[in-house]
């Protein structure tokens, strides 16, 4: 069944192995919980298989996967309304703080609306216009979120560094 379907020239298994890390990173960065992130991860690929949209190229495919993963995470949060405390995040140790130069842990502590933009900008290396298309926002909005997210990230990283 999967061999019969093509996603921008890739089979389902090829898409899965190529973009599994990206989708998993989006889910973990958004939900900060392994179990919840896994649910959204699976739902994202279920939608990929069921809907089988026509993709122009692999960039389109990757952006679609990220967009669906973010939406799945949002829906998941809305449905469950679970608030994960910072202590719980520390206990799960999703992102370790072994490397002093790795600010991933600080990014995980930013607010979700900033976290999505920061993750796409710094981790996935998307440009502002691309982030705007993925998130369905205006570029200026993305720029604003990016600017405020950097400030919050600086506060979190700097404050914690001062401790």
């Amino acid at each position: 069944m999967s061999a019969q379907r093509s996603y921008a020239g890739l089979s389902y298994d090829e898409v899965l192995h190529k973009y599994a890390d990206t989708v998993a990173g989006v889910c973990v960065a958004r939900l900060q919980n392994q179990a919840d992130a896994e649910d959204c991860f699976q739902n994202t690929f279920i939608k990929l298989f069921q809907k089988s949209p026509d993709f122009r190229d692999e960039n389109h495919l990757k952006a679609w996967l990220i967009r669906v993963a973010i939406n799945e995470c949002r829906d998941y949060v809305d449905k469950n309304r679970r608030v994960i405390s910072l202590d719980a995040i520390d206990r799960e140790h999703i992102i370790s703080r072994d490397d002093e130069r790795d600010a991933s842990w600080a990014l995980m502590r930013t607010r979700p609306k900033y976290r999505e933009v920061l993750y796409l900008y710094y981790c996935q290396r998307y440009k502002v216009d691309e982030i705007a298309r993925i998130l369905g926002k205006k570029p200026n909005t993305v720029k604003t979120l990016l600017k405020r997210g950097r400030e919050e990230l600086r506060r979190i990283y700097g404050g914690d560094a001062n401790e």
Binding site: H17, V23, A29, R101, A103
Partner: protein, 282 residues
Amino acid sequence: MNKLNFDSLSRYKAPDEWIKKAAAIPEAPRKKRIVPLYRFAAVAGIVLVSTIGLVIFLTFGNGKAPVISHGGTGATDYGHSETIGETTDTLAPAETIAVPSTNPVIRYAEATEPTATITQTIETQNPSVAPITSQKATEKPSPTVPSTERAITPTDPPKETRPPKPTAPPPTAAPPTDPPLTDCRITVTTGYPSPAGEVPSIETDEPIVFCRMYDASGDLVGCSSLFAEEKRATVVTINPDDSFVVTYDPLEKGLPITRGRYTYVMVDYFLGTELCRGTVEY
């Protein structure tokens, strides 16, 4: 910020377990395909049962059409033959039959086996008009007036109009053993609706009544056609209130009548409804 990196998130590796589960996703929808098959089977079953039920209803339901027409619903059934044995259980004597307002209100009495009862329910006509009332072969037709009349329309009692041109009894039926002719007075309070589409060839304002004779075993006397000419009764007169008097002599029509008890049923050709029934003895 340039000194910092996000390697932990950028190089986040999806657990192998996640990938294995996601790789199995294409297998899951295959199992779900069974569900539509079940649904299809269920729908097909419902349709099949409904179709069978409809066929059964159409097949056996028509056998009960006389019962419906007896109730004065105006059901028309011109084509099938029937026997008394099939309907005697379901045809309860009805003193008056209420018909929907769109149909003619037909009130009639049912003549039962005893002669006395017949004289109660059926008006006898002028002696010159052969009465349908059954009588013993040894008795002569007598213009006895029924003691009680149950079947006359209360709002419009039948007039004692004599037929202007009475039909004489058949000359061949002169011997004392001649079977008496039957007479049936039918009161119709309203006119006929337009003839049904089944009988477009007959265009007449006069009522057309057929009389079916059944022997003691319930078999139809004469040919199997319910509306053969040999079963057509003669309309003697039509009253201003649309009631009419008919006579029927089976011997005159050439039916093989022998001694015994017969049941007659007057049927309106246009409406297909039973107007009256009774028994006669020859």
